[in-house]
Structures are given as C-alpha cells and as structure tokens.
Amino acid sequence: MLQLIVNGQSVDTDATPDTPLLWVLRDHLGMTGTKFGCGAALCGACTVHLDGEPVRSCQLPLEAVAGRKVTTIEGVSADRSHPVQQAWMELDVPNVATVSRGRSCPLPHCSHATLPPRTRTSMSPCPATSAAAVRIRASAAPSTAPLNS
C-alpha cells in the first residue's frame, strides 16, 4: 500500500509502484478530471500539480509521488472559482477541454488570467484550446516570461 496526498486528503492505494500517477488517479481513485491523451508526456492532458509544480502524470510512477502532495483539477477549487477557471468561463471557450487540465492548473499564486510558463508548452487539443489561449493571452496583462519556456 502506498500513500499520497490528493487535494489535501491522504489516500492509500494498492496500485503497483510503477503505475503512472495518471492511472492511479483515474482508475484507482476514480478521479477522471485528469485526462489521457498520449501517454508520452507530449500533450499535457495529464497535467497535475506535484507539491505545487505542474507535472505530466502519465509518466510519473506512483512510487515517485508517494507521500507527496498532488493537486488535480478537482482540487483547484470547489466551485470553479479559481482565477484561471473563471477566465475560461468568462471567455467561454472550453471546446474540447478534455485536455484543458494543463491550462486550468496554474500555480497557486497566479492571480490573473495569464498562463504560467510551463503550461504554455502544452499542446493544443482540438486546436480551439489554443484559440482559448489566444483569447486569454489577449485579455490578460502582458507577461514578461519568455514564450518558449
């Protein structure tokens, strides 16, 4: 049995240590908000926060996250009130949104609707989510972080 902290709650799982965190979340814990798109850490659909930093959970084995804090889309807010969620709803661009996790899990201190540097390399699912990024970027204050990070 391994233990991890998901959205502030301690959970035990009997998934094998090599099971990617993505499948621990989706299958063992039944939390399907984090999505499977490629299994190769290329698309960003599986993005969660590990100790506050965005990571691609499809290639992160359970044993690497045991005892650590995981935040999923389910834990970003209880009521869609996180600023990035609010920005998405304001601009009304979920479109496919099966892989918007990479975009809706910003750093906790992000207080306006810009996308933090690491999530900018997430792939566009239906490219409409890139369109969402276009809208969100256009509506937010300019960021000084380099775009190709």
Binding site: G33, A40, M89, V96, T98, T121, P125, C126
Partner: protein
C-alpha cells in the same frame, strides 16, 4: 452533404404523459422514410423535451457534443420558441431513435457541419408546438382564451397576476392534440437565437466533471487493452497468452474484431499484460506498402480522365487558344484525425440487452455494429453518447465499438476498451492523399479564360456510402472545386477515384481543405502570371458573387491587405463551403529562412447564426486545426505500417505557437451555413501564398515543413 435525401416532409408529432406526470414531446419521421435510408433503424416516437412537475426542463440533444457547441445551439433553437432561458435547462444526450435522424445526412449522425441547418426549423417548430400546448392547458385551466395568455421564462401568465409553471401544466398539456400549424417568430423577435449565450458545457469542462467516453465508470467494470495488427489491414494468425494471463489483475485474453484483447481490473494492468502477449500476424496485402508507392499510384492514375464534376464551355479548347497557359501539379499527404481523446468504448452486455457508452458521432451505425457483436436486435442496444474529446470525423467510424461488446459478453461484466495514442495514430482512417493536375489560361489582356482541375484521390464515400456513387460523382471529393465561383467562361473539374490500399476517412472539412489549397494557390499563381495583385485579381472575377466578394473585401480590409509592416508578407484565400463564405488573410515573416506566422484575419458569412460566440470559436479552432495540417501534417507509411506513433512525430500547434487570430462575422439574414469545418480549409493556401510573397517560392505540396522552402 450538399443535397438532402428525398425524405417525406410530413411530420408526426406525438405527445404522451410520463408516468408520474410530465410532458414528453416527440417528433417522429415516418417509419418508411427512415427505413429507406437506413434499413432497420426502428421508428418509435421519441422525445425532445421532458418537463417534470417540479418545472425541471430537460432537452434531449441528438447531436454529439465534440466541442462544436451543439448542446448549446440545439438548446437555443428549442428554447427560443419554448420561452425558456437556455441556462435554466438541463441537457441530456438523446438515445437512438428515428426522430433523431439528421435529414441532411440520412441517419442519426453528427457531421458535415449540418446540425444547425438540420435543426434550424425543426427544433423551433417543436418548441413552438410545446409552448402552444402548454398555453392551451393554462387556458383550459383558467377558462380563458389562449390568445389572452403569454408564456415567458418557463411559465404561462394571464397578465393579471396569475401564473402556472410548465411543470404544473405539463401533465394536462400532454393530453392535448399537437398543433399542426405553428407560426414561428421572425428573426427580429429572437431573444435567444443569434445571441452569444454562454455555452452550457463550459462549467463542467472547466471543473473536470464532464464525462467523456474515456471517463465512463460502471459498477464492476473491467478494462481492456487491445493489440492490433502492426500493418494496416493485417489479420490475426495466432497468439500465446500464457504469460499475459498470469499477470496481476488479468481476467481474460481473447481475440476480438480489433485484435487480441487483454481484460484486467485496471487499465495499466491490461496495458502491461498486453506487452507480454506473443502474437503472429498475416501482414496482408499492404505488407510492402510505403508512401512512395502511394504517391506513385496516384501520379500514374492521374493521366486518365475522371468523372466530370463541372463543365462550363470548353476548357481544353480555350487552353489551346490561350495566350499564356500555366500548368501545375499539386500533392497533399495522408493525415491523421488525432482526436485528443483516443478511441474508446464501454459495453455492458446482459442477457437480452446491451448498454453502450461511446464518444460516437454515429449513433445509428454504433447501434447496428454493437447489436451484431452482441447477437441482439438493434432495439436491444441502448447507445449512451458521452462528450467527445474531439470528433473531426474519426468518430463517424465504428471500428472501435464491437470489441468492447465482445469483451463484455465474454466476461459477463462491463468492459471499457481504451486505445493508446499509438494504437490510435497507427489505426486511423486517414484523410486521403491527393494528386491534382491543374491548368489555367490567360488571354492577351491577362484575363483568366480557362480553368481545368483534375483531382485524383482515394474515396471515402466508396467505402462508407457507396450507393451515393451510383448516381453522382463522389460529392465528398470535389468540394471547394466543383463550385468554382470565379467568372471564367471555360471551367472543367473532374475527379478520378484511385485507391491506395489504406482505408481513408472523413477528416474535418473532408475535401474542402485539399481542394481549396490547390484552387487558391493556383489562383495566386495565375494572378502573378497576369501581373495582378492577388486580391484585385480575385475581386475582379467575383463581380457576380456578392457574398464571396464581401468576405474577401472584409478580410482584406481588416487584415490591412497591401499595408503589411516592413518584413511581413501576406497571402489570401476565399472559399464557400457548407453554405458559409470565408476569406482569410495570413500574415507571416521569414527571418533567415525561418517562418513565423503572425496573424490570421478571417471574415465569415455563415448566414443567420444561432450563437455568434460559438461561430467565432469554431472559426478560431478550425483555423488552428488547418494550421497544424498546413505546417506539419503528414502520415507516412513503411512496410504497410504508419510511421507516426505519437505527437512527437505528428505535430500539432502548441498554445505558445498560436498566431494572433482576428475573426469578423458578417451580419446576415441568409439561411444558416455550417461552421464546424470550413475554416480548416482556408489556412494552407493563404499561408502558401504569403510564403510566396516573402520568398518568391511556390508551395505545391504539403506539409510546408517538408518542402524546403522555409524552416519551421
């Protein structure tokens, strides 16, 4: 599909009370019309609307929500006449039923950018009929004339302080006859249709609670991972499951219609155990197929004449007499669909019944295929359509359905099959490759007098709807080509079907993207040959096409055509597709050979809109979809297998690579056009034309990354 099938226009509206009260309102097409189109699809009356006694209103939407916004737009159409707020309504996916047939497609399918066009009048009528019955029920209750009452916000009022909610009225309304004739509101009175209502699915997608096919959970459900043939069209010969069967969590290993399935408690267990299978395959007819052969096959075939798709005047003679003749060969590759949610299906087989949960665009075929796999009648299969993580035409296929039923039937428990990204990319139905020969003739004054376009490509329709080809040239191979709109007296367009050995499929915008690339690139070549500005050249040839001309003007104006900043270059494209007119100005720079796409300015005239915000989203999303294909999109084959396996080798535009996109929507009172797909087609030609402006080099094949004209 351009022409609606010839179904009887008579409608039969049935209403019946739910057990426990409530109104169900149905719209059923005559049984024989459905049977003529589909065989035994069944013709039970079904409902659009459920109104519960507590006034909860549920709309059943029969079109698949793949991000294109139909759950919202269909609800808006119904809500307009029903006099309810869309945000106050619950949406649920409709089951399979004759009433849910798309008249433009001939079955319960979502595709061809037809949903709004199909539902435009149908759902408003249904809403008006329901409202009329509810008002009449109130009139009966109050002993007042119905004309003295009005409906608003889900209730009926007498104007003197009395109110009855739809919930209170539903049971008695359901007993009333359904009015045959209803008067619909004029567009000037619309309160819901045409307004940028917030989408109904935004919240659940932003908080992760929306259930896509891949998210389905059923009690006792097991997971399956399937080893498929490495070559396209290969056949299973034998397999040794002895190692796989012993692995943790594994329940069963079996041969299915997709390949060898490993069923286990959890997905990861199934996936791992699948790696322990020993499988032998008969590589099949494609064992030696490679991309060079595909290209060579099309090129060799292209010397023969095809079926004529358009003939005005005599293009051959006019070319022979022309002062200047340009000829060119254009080529486009196979493409993948790459829905971000990989193919998946969940089946729950029980004696006498099967529940199917799938991200399908094709409820009617899914039901038939599942029934066959289950050994049941179609009416015994209930199809639950989930949200789709992208459709793009991939989910019109039903190749991922049967195996889940076969698995569930074998183990007696619900089974969810999930394809890996590699499974998905290497077992797609690919967008056809095209080989086009094109010629244009200019007279001594530089006027375009002849146009000859010869298209050679494999046919999706020949596999999916072959009966169409008995009557007509494949309509899905000649889009944006046969409708050549420029004012040229001699136009000849023909299409030659040439198969290349792999299954090809309908991929967002179908033949619009390949054909528009060729047409609008070659128009650019002719403009340059005539010494004319590409915008002026086109504009002059659209004098009799006001809707084309208007979007061209708008895109040029808003895109600052001819006034690009120093170092920036522009290209233009214009097209009609799905009844919508679009024009695009692309603005690029090429810095030491490196391409940067700065801005896309798109003008759209799609007639009357249900939701302008959704139209803008579909324009933006379609442009980016087309941009990915234009820059990098290519599926290659070697030894009968697809070489691209994941997004490292099949690239899609990333968020930080998106150009600035400006969309201008034309206000119009024309009939609605479809917008799910046409924007896709605009990008490659506008981009190619801009690159030519920057480099003087012409792009005649895609993807751009492979043409050694610019680095990307």
């Amino acid at each position: 599909m351009k022409q609606p099938l010839s179904l009887s226009r008579r409608e039969l509206l049935k209403a019946s009370a739910l057990v426990g009260g409530g109104l169900m309102l149905g719209l059923a097409l005559p049984r024989r019309a459905t049977a003529a189109a589909l065989g035994n699809a069944g013709g039970q009356p079904v409902a659009w609307l459920r109104i519960a006694p507590d006034n909860t209103i549920t709309v059943l939407v029969d079109r698949s929500e793949m991000g294109q916004g139909v759950y919202t737009s269909m609800t808006q159409l119904l809500a307009e006449e029903l006099e309810v707020e869309p945000a106050a309504v619950c949406v649920t996916a409709a089951p399979v039923g004759a009433a849910y047939s798309n008249a433009l497609l001939g079955g319960q399918l979502t595709g061809g950018s037809t949903s709004v066009r199909d539902a435009w009048e149908k759902l408003r009528r249904a809403g008006a009929q329901a409202r009329t019955m509810l008002v009449q029920a109130a009139a009966d209750h109050w002993s007042l004339p119905a004309s003295s009452l009005y409906a608003s916000g889900g209730a009926v009022y007498d104007g003197r302080g009395h109110r009855l909610t739809y919930g209170e009225l539903a049971e008695s309304a359901a007993k009333l006859p359904v009015p045959k004739d209803v008067v619909l509101k004029p567009a000037s009175a619309f309160k819901v249709v045409g307004k940028p209502h917030k989408r109904l699915d935004t919240g659940i997608k932003v908080d992760g609670t929306a259930v896509y096919g891949i998210d389905v959970k059923l009690p006792g459900m097991l997971h399956a991972s399937i080893e498929q043939s490495p070559t396209l069209g290969g056949k299973l010969q034998s397999f040794d499951a002895s190692a796989a069967e012993k692995m943790p969590g594994v329940h069963k290993v079996l041969a299915t219609s997709n390949g060898v399935a490993v069923i286990a408690d959890h997905y990861w267990q199934a996936r791992k155990a699948r790696g322990a299978l020993k499988v032998t395959w008969d590589a099949g007819a494609n064992a030696k197929l490679d991309s060079a052969k595909v290209s060579a096959t099309l090129k060799a075939a292209a010397t023969a004449a095809g079926r004529t798709a358009r003939k005005d005047g005599d293009a051959t003679a006019a070319l022979a007499k022309a002062s200047k003749v340009l000829r060119a060969t254009y080529q486009l590759p196979l493409l993948a669909h790459a829905t971000l949610e990989p193919q998946n299906c969940t089946a729950d087989f029980k004696a006498g019944r099967c529940d199917l949960y799938a991200p399908t665009q094709n409820q009617i075929f899914a039901q038939l295929v599942a029934a066959k796999a289950a050994g049941l009648e179609p009416a015994q299969v209930e199809v639950h359509t989930t949200y789709l993580g992208g459709g793009f035409g991939r989910r019109l296929e039903v190749d991922f359905i049967a195996a889940s039923v076969e698995c569930s039937k074998t183990v007696g428990r619900p089974v969810k099959v999930i394809w890996t990204r590699e499974d998905d990319m290497t077992h797609d139905t690919y967008r056809p490759a095209f080989h086009d020969e094109i010629a244009g003739g200019l007279d001594a004054e530089g006027q375009l007098v002849a146009w000859h376009m010869h298209i050679t490509a494999p046919s999706v329709t020949a596999r999916m709807f072959p009966s169409i080809l008995e009557q007509t040239v494949d309509p899905f191979a000649i889009e944006a080509a046969a409708n050549y709109a420029y004012d040229v007296p001699n136009v000849h367009v023909d299409y030659l079907q040439q198969e290349v050995g792999v299954d090809v499929g309908y991929n967002r915008s179908v033949s619009h993207a390949p054909n528009c690339f060729v047409v609008e690139s070659f128009m650019d070549e002719l403009a340059h040959a005539a010494g004319k500005d590409p915008y002026e050249f086109r504009h002059g040839l659209l004098a009799r096409q006001p809707r084309y001309r208007h979007v061209l003007e708008q895109a040029a104006q808003r895109g600052n055509w001819g006034k690009a900043p120093k170092g920036r270059f522009q290209g233009i494209s214009v097209m009609e597709g799905y009844g919508s007119y679009l024009a695009l100005v692309a603005e690029v720079s090429v810095d030491r050979g490196h391409l940067k796409v700065h801005k896309l300015t798109c003008a759209v005239d799609c007639g009357q809109m249900v939701n302008p915000n959704i139209v803008a989203q579909q324009t933006e999303g379609g442009l980016l979809f087309g941009l990915s294909a234009a820059l990098w999109g290519e599926i290659t084959l070697a030894e009968g297998a697809v070489q691209q396996k994941n997004f490292d080798t099949y690239r899609l535009v990333r968020m930080n690579e998106s150009p600035e996109i400006v969309v201008h929507l034309v206000e119009s009172s024309e009939a609605p056009g479809g917008m799910g797909e046409p924007a896709v087609a605009m990008v490659a030609p506008a981009l190619g034309n801009a690159i030519h402006a920057a480099t003087r080099k012409r792009i005649r094949a895609l993807p751009i990354a492979k043409q050694q004209v610019v680095k990307i």
